[in-house]
Symmetry: C2
Subunit: 210 residues, 2 copies
């Protein structure tokens, strides 16, 4: 996967958390925020926040803090949220259909196409999106300017779908199949791991039932 | 939410990552692993790993490392994965149906019931699970020994559903609706934030297209 050698994955994963908290602060009318206050809200040490942000430039002023609106804007740009990424969902089953109606647009993501291999589904409309034949992925993805392929097919088909996406020149894959997918280094792959999130819930339940 | 004051949320969120990597190491026949090696694999500093684990006890031996199998077992217990948590999914639409067929059982989670309010869906079967009337949640959840309620309804209904779960004595809520839900401190709430995961992908795409 296309990892940036200088920025750790853990840092990258904290950026959306900073972004969301800054959005909330901005909506609440907060103009300046210190790393201590941001850290207190997020349960992250102020040192960690300063270290994460300094990887991308000089944002805050010593003894004063960060300008909320400017920092939210900068973090948004670092996260590429100024782009309007176009998603194609592969697999128009229950998961694909659920994702097609998910509200991604607040962060500028657009679901631009749905694909399936089932002749009974191809040509139908889901959430105002036509379902295209996955066999024609490359030309349609080109026409629809797809940036990101969302894998919402059964585990057993996931690698084959990924291979088609990669051959078609897709550089970003968001994988919902709970299986390890092989991708070349120039393709960014993010796996959605629902069991990790559920395990965190399990932790708190186990603690509280002691 | 039922936060453990002594353990930070960030630490808890790293535990499933340790667990999975230890599982992989165990399957590969690795018997002893150092915090440096674990850190290298996960892109987390060895100090962070040692600090996270020491919150729960003394696992490794200085200069030797951790016994992979014993540590995986301990982390699994800390995460409550020795319990067999029983889930009820509320909302038998596309998302609920997709979740009902997701493979959670590897980590010991069991989808034990599905609920919906739509008379057309109540009484049908999805993935061998009968859909029950959400109006009868409390007695059915009691009989089915439900631990965790999974909210898979539209945003506008999410808080009402949560209120019913809480009144019925459910202590763990896994929320897929992209809206902030209010819960009392004794209820553990985990929100599944798909946009955060998608933002990480956006980061790598933006970097690579520079």
């Amino acid at each position: 996967m296309a990892m940036d050698k200088t920025i750790s994955r853990a840092t990258v994963e904290r950026l959306p958390i900073y972004y969301r908290e800054l959005e909330l602060a901005e909506e609440a009318g907060v103009q300046i925020i210190s790393s201590s206050e941001l850290g207190r809200r997020l349960e992250i040490t102020p040192e960690q926040i300063r270290k994460d942000l300094v990887s991308f430039g000089q944002f805050g002023r010593k003894g004063i803090g960060y300008e909320v609106s400017a920092l939210r804007n900068s973090v948004g740009k670092i996260l590429g949220l100024n782009h309007r990424w176009r998603l194609a969902i592969i697999g128009a089953g229950n998961l694909g259909t659920a994702l097609a109606s998910y509200n991604f647009s607040a962060l500028g993501f657009i679901v631009a196409a749905l694909f399936d291999a089932d002749p009974k589904i191809i040509g139908t409309e889901i959430n105002n999106l036509r379902v295209y034949d996955f066999a024609k992925f490359k030309p349609i993805a080109g026409r629809k300017l797809i940036d990101i392929g969302v894998i919402a097919v059964p585990e057993i088909e996931a690698q084959d779908v990924a291979d088609v996406l990669i051959k078609a020149g897709i550089r970003g894959i968001w994988n919902f199949a709970s299986i390890k997918i092989e991708t070349p280094p120039e393709v960014a792959l993010i796996n959605v791991d629902l069991t990790a999130s559920l395990s965190v819930l399990s932790f708190y339940l186990a603690r509280s039932s002691k």
